[in-house]
C-alpha cells in the first residue's frame, strides 16, 4: 500500500512497466518523496535484478535489488569497498576535497578498531541502564501531547525522542540538542532539497559541528572515566588523534546513524498501523506483539534506502560482470520487498515468524552498531503509547523527504481522540 494519490501511483506503475529497462533510474529522489518507488523495484527484481544504469545525476551505477544478492555484496567487503576515498557508502559522490572518512566508510583494519572503540555504548549492560531513561522520556513526551487537536507527529514525538537520545549518547549539552538534529539534516540533505544548495555551504555549516564537538572532545580526554561516545573516542588509541575531517566524519556518522533512522522508524510505524488497521486492532488486542512488530516496522520503513560500495576488482555477481571501480548500490528498500525471502513482502504484518529477517540494518562487518538500541527505543515507545491512547489517527497526507538515501517522513498530521 502507498500513500500517493491514485493517479500518481497508477502513472508510476504504468511507467515502471513500459520504460525500457536500460532507461530505468531508481536514484531519482522524487520517487521516494512521492512514494512511487515500489513498482520500479518490482520491475527490476523481476526483469533485471542486478541492473546497470549508465546515466543519472549520480553517474553510472549498478542496482542490486534482490535480498540474496544484497547479502552477497554486503558480506564481501574485500571486493566491495566502503572507502570514502573511492566514494564511500552513498550513491552521491562527494567532491574529493569534501570526502570525510568515518568508520562506516572505511575498510578493515582501521574500521574494525574504531568500531570496537565505540560499540560498548550499546553493550547489553548499558542498554539496561538506558532503558529507564528512555521510558521516562517517552512518558513525558507522550503525556504532553494535545488531545483532540491536530499536530505533527514527526515533530512532537519522533524528532523529540531521538534528539534527546542522541544528546544522551554524546553527553551533549541538553539545551543545545537541536543542533544535533540540524547537523544531521544538513549532512544528509540532497542538494536539490532546498536545505543546502552546494557542498561548500554544507561544509561551512558542518565546520560549526567540528568546533563544538572538538571543544567537548578536548574536555573529555582526561579525568575520571565517562561513558559517552565522545569520551570513548577521545580515549581510544584508534580514534584519539583524528584530524578534523575524520573527526567530523565519525561525529556525523554517529549523529546520523542514531537520528534520522530511528526517527523515521517511529514515524513509519504509526503510518503503517494506520494503513493496516487490522494490524492495529491485532496489536491492541495483544500488546505482547510489540516484540515482533518492532523489527517489522524497521523492515517496512527501511529508514536507509540504500548503502553503496565500490568494486575494487572485477567480479561476477550472480551473472553481472561488475568491473573494478564500478559503483554498486544495495537497495535495502527493494531487498526488503523480495517475495523470495519475505512472504507478502509489501504488507505490514506484525506477527511474522522471523521478523528480524530483513536488510534494514545491513549485514556483515558494517552491520548497524545501534540496532538493538533502536529496537529498544521503539519497543518502549509503543508500550507507553498503548498504555495511554486507545488510538492515534493519521488525519491527512504525509510529507516525505526528497532523498534516495534517507527514506524519511517530515510531516504526519495526527489526532489523538482521547486517553484511556
Amino acid at each position: 500500500m502507498n500513500d500517493a494519490p491514485i493517479d500518481l501511483f497508477a502513472e508510476a506503475a504504468e511507467a515502471a512497466r513500459t520504460t525500457p529497462i536500460d532507461k530505468i533510474d531508481v536514484s531519482q529522489p522524487s520517487i521516494y518523496q512521492n512514494d512511487t518507488w515500489r513498482p520500479w523495484f518490482a520491475r527490476l527484481r523481476e526483469d533485471a535484478p542486478i541492473h546497470y544504469c549508465a546515466e543519472s545525476r549520480f553517474g553510472a551505477f549498478w542496482s542490486v535489488t534482490r535480498y540474496k544478492d544484497i547479502m552477497a555484496v554486503d558480506t564481501n567487503h574485500k571486493v566491495f569497498s566502503s572507502d570514502s576515498q573511492l566514494g564511500g557508502i552513498t550513491i552521491r559522490d562527494a567532491p574529493m576535497s569534501f570526502r570525510r572518512p568515518s568508520f562506516i566508510s572505511m575498510d578493515p583494519p582501521l574500521h574494525d578498531d574504531q568500531r570496537r572503540a565505540v560499540s560498548p555504548i550499546v553493550a547489553p549492560t548499558n542498554l539496561v541502564n538506558l532503558e529507564k531513561l528512555i521510558r521516562e522520556r517517552s512518558q513525558k513526551i507522550l503525556d504532553s501531547l494535545p488531545i483532540n487537536e491536530e499536530f505533527n507527529w514527526v515533530e512532537k514525538v519522533s524528532v523529540e525522542l531521538t534528539t534527546q537520545m542522541l544528546a544522551t549518547l554524546f553527553d551533549f549539552p541538553f539545551e543545545d540538542r537541536h543542533l544535533l538534529t540540524y547537523w544531521s539534516d544538513i549532512a544528509t540533505a540532497d542538494l536539490l532539497s532546498g536545505k543546502v544548495s552546494s557542498e561548500e555551504e554544507r561544509n561551512e555549516i558542518l565546520q560549526q559541528c567540528v568546533k563544538y564537538m572538538r571543544a567537548l572532545f578536548k574536555q573529555r580526554e582526561n579525568g575520571p572515566p565517562r561513558f559517552d561516545l565522545l569520551s570513548m573516542m577521545a580515549r581510544d588509541p584508534s580514534t584519539r588523534d583524528m584530524d578534523d575531517k575524520m573527526f567530523l566524519g565519525n561525529c556525523i556518522l554517529l549523529i546520523v546513524g542514531g537520528n534520522d533512522t530511528t526517527r523515521n522508524s517511529i514515524s513509519g510505524g504509526l503510518l503503517a498501523l494506520n494503513q493496516y488497521r487490522d494490524q492495529y486492532d491485532k496489536l491492541r488486542a495483544n500488546p505482547a506483539l510489540i516484540e515482533t512488530m518492532v523489527p517489522e516496522i524497521v523492515r517496512w520503513q527501511t529508514p536507509l534506502a540504500h548503502m553503496r560500495r565500490t568494486a575494487v576488482e572485477d567480479f561476477n555477481l550472480n551473472g553481472a560482470a561488475i568491473k573494478k571501480g564500478d559503483k554498486v548500490v544495495m537497495w535495502y528498500i527493494s531487498g526488503n520487498r523480495d517475495e523470495e525471502m519475505i512472504e507478502n513482502a509489501d504488507d505490514f504484518i506484525i506477527d511474522r515468524a522471523r521478523p528480524r529477517q530483513h536488510l534494514s540494518f545491513g549485514f556483515g562487518i558494517h552491520r548497524c552498531v545501534g540496532n538493538r538500541l533502536a529496537e529498544m527505543q521503539l519497543k518502549i515507545l509503543w508500550e507507553e503509547i498503548l498504555a495511554r491512547f486507545p488510538e492515534i489517527n493519521v488525519t491527512g497526507p504525509v510529507k516525505r523527504v526528497f532523498s534516495n538515501f534517507v527514506h524519511g517522513i517530515e510531516e504526519i498530521p495526527v489526532i489523538i481522540p482521547r486517553r484511556h
Binding site: 558480506t75 574494525d112 550499546v122 553493550a123 562487518i365 552491520r367 538493538r372
Partner: protein, 106 residues
C-alpha cells in the same frame, strides 16, 4: 540423534536433540531455545548467534574460519572460546555438546 545443551545467561539449561548436518544455531532456533537471535539466518553476517563452547568441546567443534573470526570480533563479551553457533555443524561426534549464551546478542 546428537544431544546439545544450551545454558542461558541466567543459568537455565535446555537440552535438545538435533539432526546431524544442521547447525548448532538451528538446533536452538528450531527448538525454541531462547537467547540466540540469528538475525541473518546462518549466513555468518550478524554475530547474533554468539555462544561460548565448553572447554571440553573446543577441539571437537573445530576452528573459526576467517569470516567467522571477523564477525565475532564485533560481538560483545568475546572470549577465546566464543563461536558463532551457525558455523558449527552438528555431527555424531558432538553428541553431548554444551554451549553457554552471552548476556545479549548484538
Amino acid at each position: 540423534m546428537p544431544k546439545i545443551t544450551f545454558i542461558e545467561y541466567n543459568g537455565t539449561a535446555h537440552t535438545v536433540e538435533v539432526e546431524e548436518g544442521l547447525s548448532v544455531m538451528e538446533a536452538a532456533v528450531n527448538n525454541g531455545v531462547p537467547g540466540i537471535d540469528a538475525d541473518c539466518g546462518g549466513a555468518c553476517a550478524c554475530a547474533t548467534c554468539h555462544v561460548y563452547v565448553d572447554a571440553a568441546w573446543e577441539a571437537k567443534t573445530g576452528e573459526k574460519n576467517e569470516s567467522e573470526a571477523a564477525m565475532i570480533s564485533f560481538a560483545n563479551g568475546v572470549e577465546p572460546n566464543s563461536r558463532l553457533s551457525c558455523q558449527i555443524k552438528v555431527t555424531a561426534e558432538l553428541d553431548g555438546l554444551v554451549v553457554r549464551m552471552p548476556a545479549g546478542q548484538h
